[in-house]
């Protein structure tokens, strides 16, 4: 038996013994996600138990070094652990932008002091982070951002506005792109800086979306004073950090399209449209759409696994996460179009108890942002065309 076989056995046994049954069921609502942070509360006792057991093992961030609160697993072990979690339908014990976005950037660009300060608190779910990237006039053209950071002794003084800041109203800290040199070319005067959301001069305002929910905020900075030691990487070279982080963000968003867990689409559809004598969906066109969708979903999941394996083998292209982001988000939108079609008029109720407060139509509307946030589908295709295919122009 290889070391990895042994690791798989041990992991399977540990998960079996430690993952509460309630944490192996598909998530039903936003409350089922545990985000951590100074003020977050657990929505249930099993959620707390599961989180704490995983945290103590370092498995909220299995592949991070143990000195920063991680599990110290290598790439193959991490893959095995995720496969074993998926096999029993185990939920993520902790979801955070600290894990999926800031962490990888700090591991690559952070100083020792920054890593020691921030990574263990991310791993332990103590601090919840938000991302200060987009601005009212800097969406797809992110590098044209205008939030200013003026040098003042050992500090920067930050003034400006961000938008589409996910959960800024719940976040404890922000990782933020600011302009530290207004005279340089647009990509060359940007810095990547960290600060506490309780700093004087920070305010947030939730934005009501078409789903009737407010996952995004406008975030305002009015002369916010931040020590220069909070810059990650080199001053004015923040775009490098920003792009690296975006690769991780895109990989995360593309993963939102892969949901092997939960009830299969075919069964969900059977509930509402019915089946014929052979057990086939009565709506043959819908049946075909679901089958094509599942073919593409299975293929995407193989591609996601292959992307990790290629990276491990040193054969991956750094822009490939843009390809996955494009496909994963378009696929997730397709999933929800199918779910809405399968649900028919039952999927149109917006407020009733019966419809869990319109959970399905609200989730459907939320997915429309997938191909916008983190870089639009059109931006992703442009990146693939230029950086991978080396097509001319721009």
């Amino acid at each position: 038996m290889t070391d990895h076989d042994q690791f798989r056995r041990d992991t399977r046994a540990w998960l079996e013994a430690n993952c509460p049954p309630e944490m192996r069921r598909p998530m039903n609502s936003e409350e089922d996600t545990f985000w951590g942070g100074r003020t977050t509360k657990f929505s249930s006792e099993p959620q707390r138990v599961w989180f704490e057991r995983m945290r103590d093992k370092g498995w909220t961030v299995p592949h991070w070094p143990t000195e920063y609160g991680g599990g110290g697993l290598d790439a193959e072990q991490t893959k095995i652990m995720r496969q074993e979690m998926a096999a029993i339908g185990a939920r993520q014990p902790l979801t955070s932008f600290g894990i999926s976005m800031l962490g990888p950037a700090l591991l690559k660009y952070g100083t020792d002091a920054q890593k020691k300060e921030h990574l263990p608190k991310i791993a332990a779910g103590l601090i919840r982070w938000c991302q200060g990237y987009s601005e009212p006039n800097a969406g797809s053209d992110l590098a044209s951002l205008q939030t200013r950071a003026e040098s003042d002794g050992d500090d920067f003084v930050i003034t400006g506005q961000k938008i589409w800041t996910s959960y800024a109203n719940y976040a404890d800290w922000i990782f933020c792109l600011v302009r530290t040199d207004a005279s340089a070319k647009k990509h060359d005067g940007i810095s990547f800086i960290l600060f506490d959301m309780t700093s004087k001069g920070v305010s947030t305002k939730p934005i009501l979306l078409i789903s009737g929910r407010s996952p995004f905020c406008e975030t305002f900075f009015d002369n916010v004073r931040v020590p220069k030691s909070h810059v990650v990487g080199t001053v004015n070279r923040g775009w490098d950090v920003a792009k690296y982080l975006l690769q991780h963000e895109r990989a995360m968003i593309s993963g939102m399209g892969e949901r092997g867990v939960g009830r299969p689409l075919g069964q969900i559809a059977a509930d509402s449209v019915g089946t014929d004598a052979q057990g086939r969906l009565e709506d043959s066109m819908l049946r075909g759409q679901i089958a094509s969708f599942e073919i593409d979903e299975a293929a995407l999941s193989a591609a996601a696994e292959r992307a990790v394996d290629l990276a491990k083998a040193g054969q991956s292209h750094p822009a490939f996460s843009s390809a996955m982001k494009y496909y994963g988000t378009e696929l997730n939108k397709r999933r929800y179009e199918i779910l809405m079609s399968a649900g028919g008029i039952d999927a149109l109720e917006w407020e009733s108890e019966r419809s869990k407060g319109g959970a399905r139509p609200r989730a459907w509307l939320r997915t429309k942002a997938n191909s916008i946030e983190g870089g639009t589908s059109e931006v992703m295709l442009g990146i693939v065309a230029k950086r991978i295919l080396d097509l001319p122009g721009a």
């Binding site: 075919g266 057990g279 075909g288 073919i295 299975a298 494009y326 496909y327 065309a385």
Partner: protein
């Protein structure tokens, strides 16, 4: 198992790529077509395949082969697809070799497999009867007679049927069209009395035949596997063939795509390279992404066939469906982006379009496999 090729598999790819791109580029197919070659492929190249060990790739070592797996067969098929090489590799070295080694008696294996491995025996699988691939709809009759059976019926789209020394035929010994029980596979010598083979010139200039069986006698030794219970063996063999054709389509798609992207970087209109136009950039990027995702799905299917054969059905359905759709998209975008040049016979792109259409039908198209997947998942 990581979803990347091992070092040995990469080396195999390099040697297959070297041989095939050198000896059988697309111009080789064009020559065979224009010369109305009676064989439709190069026997000399098939000998070279045997010398390289390709013809015996899936044949167990005990019978003179190298005992490799579906991933390795896929590696060779991909290079065949890249160059549109007409070759008995699929019919003989993949499909027939699998059928014999999975379903054959010791006598059958000892008789046929060494000859497949050394390149001296060509074989074909005769399965389709109607316009679409529907294995369970097989209605060709095999009636018991004396020590054996008598076969009556028609087969179409028998790949390499015109040159086969051995034809593996699916027929009904019981049950009716649509039923799983009652299918039996037979080993038939095409020189037997009552076998009439018509070579069918196909749109892709590759090789196929229609075969009519008129009271053809096959003795009991000619049964491959179990009487009435051939469906499991047949489906397994078809899945191996589907994985192989999916690999061929990955190679084909990637080659068309590579040629198309090169053209976008050469061709000028409106004073610009056409690859500067965003409309074309985005379509090229979409096609790239489709191909990469399909490549992963196909490798997943081949690895599953090698590692967990009985559970490979869903992965194979996904791979064949994806490969069919991706190849169809690739060749359409290829012709469109080449403009009028893409419509000319002088330009190679059309050959890829024709082959993709045939590969799409071979062993079930994307719709067939979507339906299969839905059945497997009970909806």
């Amino acid at each position: 198992m990581p979803l990347v090729l091992t070092e040995e598999q990469s080396m195999l790819r390099d040697s297959a790529r070297g041989l095939i791109s050198d000896k059988a580029p697309v111009s080789h197919l064009r020559q065979l077509r224009d010369g109305k070659d009676a064989t439709g492929f190069s026997r000399e190249l098939w000998r070279a395949f045997a010398e390289m060990g390709f013809s015996g790739l899936l044949v167990p070592e005990a019978f003179g082969g190298s005992g490799l797996g579906c991933v390795e067969a896929g590696v060779v098929m991909e290079e065949i697809g890249r160059n549109l090489m007409p070759s008995p590799f699929l019919s003989t070295a993949v499909v027939a070799a699998s059928a014999l080694s999975r379903g054959g008696s010791d006598v059958q294996k000892s008789h046929y497999l060494p000859k497949i491995s050394d390149g001296s025996l060509l074989a074909a699988l005769a399965i389709d009867e109607g316009a679409k691939h529907r294995p369970l709809q097989t209605s060709m009759q095999a009636v018991r007679s004396g020590n054996g059976f008598r076969l009556n019926g028609n087969k179409a789209f028998v790949v390499d049927g015109h040159t086969a020394d051995l034809v593996i035929v699916a027929a009904r010994t019981a049950g009716g069209a649509g039923e799983r029980d009652g299918l039996t596979l037979f080993l038939v010598d095409p020189k037997s009395k009552g076998v009439a083979t018509e070579r069918t010139a196909m749109v892709d200039s590759h090789n196929a035949a229609r075969i009519v069986f008129d009271n053809v006698e096959v003795d009991a030794d000619g049964v491959l596997g179990e009487v009435d219970q051939g469906v499991g063996l047949l489906e397994g063999v078809l899945n191996i063939g589907r994985g192989a054709v999916a690999s061929e389509m990955v190679g084909l798609s990637e080659e068309v795509f590579g040629r198309t992207v090169s053209y976008l970087k050469e061709r000028k209109q409106f004073g610009k390279l056409i690859g500067e136009f965003q409309a074309l950039q985005h379509r090229a990027a979409q096609l790239y992404i489709e191909i990469e995702i399909t490549r992963a799905a196909v490798l997943r299917a081949l690895q599953t066939l090698d590692g967990d054969f009985e559970q490979a059905g869903a992965a194979v359905a996904v791979a064949k469906a994806r490969a069919g759709s991706t190849a169809t998209l690739a060749v359409q975008e290829g012709v469109q982006m080449h403009g009028g040049m893409g419509m000319t016979d002088q330009f190679d792109i059309g050959f890829f379009m024709k082959r993709a259409r045939v590969c799409q039908e071979l062993f079930g198209d994307a719709n067939f496999h979507a339906d299969q997947l839905a059945r497997m998942k009970s909806y």
